[in-house]
Every structure is written in structure tokens, then in C-alpha cells.
Symmetry: C2
Subunit: 166 residues, 2 copies
């Protein structure tokens, strides 16, 4: 079940969140973030944040927010995180599909991922399968915990039918 | 002369700033921003903001800020604005050169422009001449005040000599 996040949910998910940012392999988030700062970043500053709950366990979470303002306010941005024990079961895919529906309901026309770490092949493959295109490569844009500087991709998907009158 | 901005400087520059965002041709900034919100966005949330002053007049301004956090904290972002009457005199070029020196002094290794409106040919040409590369095109990422949806470029420049030990 995908539903909006609560403070308790975030605290329950914090061990995963903290491990993910400390690993420095996927997210451009300060690895030393406190739970409070993490809650602010992931749950308060975005427009919406959800959890993926299964058997009473929070096994994933995602946020949705505008990627920009004014003349580019039709583009949103999302971030997704899945707990280790839930990998390979389609949780990220289901959250991304949910977020695309939500995005169009909220009036967004496109979704942009600003920084997909190129070595995160599972994510890159999934986003491609879900219709996102690599629009460019940022050389050495991410200092990977194990590999040193690696590239990042900017990925983008237009979500709605195109009309001349938009 | 390029020096750090004051509140008075921003107020003096506001007619230009306001006209630029209202035109919706170059910046992904809400065109209805108030002076107070503009001051917050341009002068308070960035790390540093400067003016280009000539004969006691503020004819340009730029900000510098981190583009991201943690593993991508080595990338900065800048925005530049020049008053109408000062165009074509190298003000943007001088500010961009100043910002690149400042960026490396502050420890940044790369500079990224997230959204250069593709129809803003003067800017695109200048950034290319100053060593920035178009790393990708975001289709229909900007709703132009006159032209409707137009593309944006992501532009990027590595600022420092590359070493294996970074």
C-alpha cells in the first residue's frame, strides 16, 4: 500500500535512509544529516511524501516536489528509496508509477531526475524502462563512497499528451 | 567594479530584476515575485551575491551557491543578470569570469547551469565561449513569454585541473 508518510514512518525508515546516504553511492545528500534534517529534507520541503507499506512495515518511500519555478513550474522532481530487504520486488517501480500519476493529477507535465549516479545501474535501467530518457551526462558530478568521482545522468520524461495550446 | 551586494543595491537593481522575470524569457523564476522574495532568492539563500558597479550604478549582479550536497557538493551554480542599458559590453562575461575564480577559491571543482533557455542565444554563445559545455537538452522545459514551450540546456564546466587523488 502506498500512502502519505508520517513522522513515525520516517523514524521507522531512518536506519535505511541513514545507511543509504552514508554509503554515498546513490544520493547527493549530506551523509552526516541528522534524523531531524532528513525529515525536513525528505518530508517537509517536498510537496508530497509517501511510504510503501507492506505487512505493517515501511519498505520504501518517495517524495514529489516542483523541480523549478515560474516558467519551468510544469516540471517536477522525485526521489525514491527502498529498504535493502525489499530490493528486486518492484517497490521502486510501483512508487515511480504512483508518482507519475500523482504528478499529472497535480498538474505537472514532466518529471526530471537531476542527478542519477551513472554507476547505479539498477536505477538507470528501471527509469529507462519507465520511459525516462538520459538527456545528458555530468562528468565527475558525484564523489562515490567506493569509486571516487563518477558521472551522473540527468533524466527526463514528458508525462502528458502534447498539445499546441499548453 | 565587482563587489558584494547590499540591500540598497538590490533595491536599485529591482526594476531590471523585475522586468527580466516578468518577461519570462531567461529565468525559471516566478514572474510575480515580490522585491522581498527576490531579495531572499537572489541575495540571502545563495552563498555569495555580487554586483557589477560602474560610475556608481549597479548594472549587473550574480549569485553563487552550491548546486547540490554531500557527494556532489563540489559543484556550484551561478545566475547572472545585466541591466538593459549595459548589454553588449562584457558585463556578463566579466561576472562569469569573476564567479569562476571565486568558485575555485571556495573549493568548488565544477560549475553547472541547470536551465539555460535554448532561445537565449546570446547567453548560450557566451557560456560556450567561456568553456561551458551543453551536456543535454531538456525538451519543452521552459514556458517562454512569447514563444510558448521551448527547450533548456544543462551546461557544465569543470573548473580545476583534474587529479586522481581528488
Amino acid at each position: 500500500m502506498i500512502r502519505e508518510i508520517t513522522r513515525d514512518d520516517f523514524e521507522a525508515f531512518w536506519p535505511t535512509f541513514s545507511a543509504v546516504i552514508k554509503a554515498q553511492e546513490t544520493y547527493a545528500i549530506d551523509p552526516e544529516l541528522t534524523l531531524e534534517q532528513g525529515f525536513q529534507l525528505w518530508c517537509k520541503s517536498p510537496m508530497k511524501t509517501f511510504v510503501f507499506e507492506e505487512d505493517g512495515q515501511v519498505i520504501g518511500t518517495y517524495y514529489l516536489k516542483p523541480n523549478s519555478q515560474g516558467p519551468s513550474q510544469h516540471i517536477c522532481n522525485c526521489g525514491y528509496m527502498v529498504s535493502d530487504q525489499a530490493r528486486g520486488r518492484g517497490v521502486a517501480r510501483k512508487m515511480c508509477e504512483h508518482s507519475q500519476v500523482l504528478a499529472t493529477e497535480l498538474g505537472f507535465k514532466a518529471m526530471q531526475f537531476n542527478s542519477v549516479v551513472a554507476t547505479n545501474e539498477v536505477a538507470v535501467r528501471l527509469w529507462k524502462r519507465l520511459g525516462f530518457e538520459i538527456i545528458g551526462t555530468l562528468p565527475n558530478a558525484y564523489q562515490h563512497g567506493k569509486l571516487g568521482f563518477v558521472d551522473c545522468y540527468v533524466m527526463y520524461k514528458w508525462l502528458v499528451p502534447w498539445t499546441r495550446h499548453d
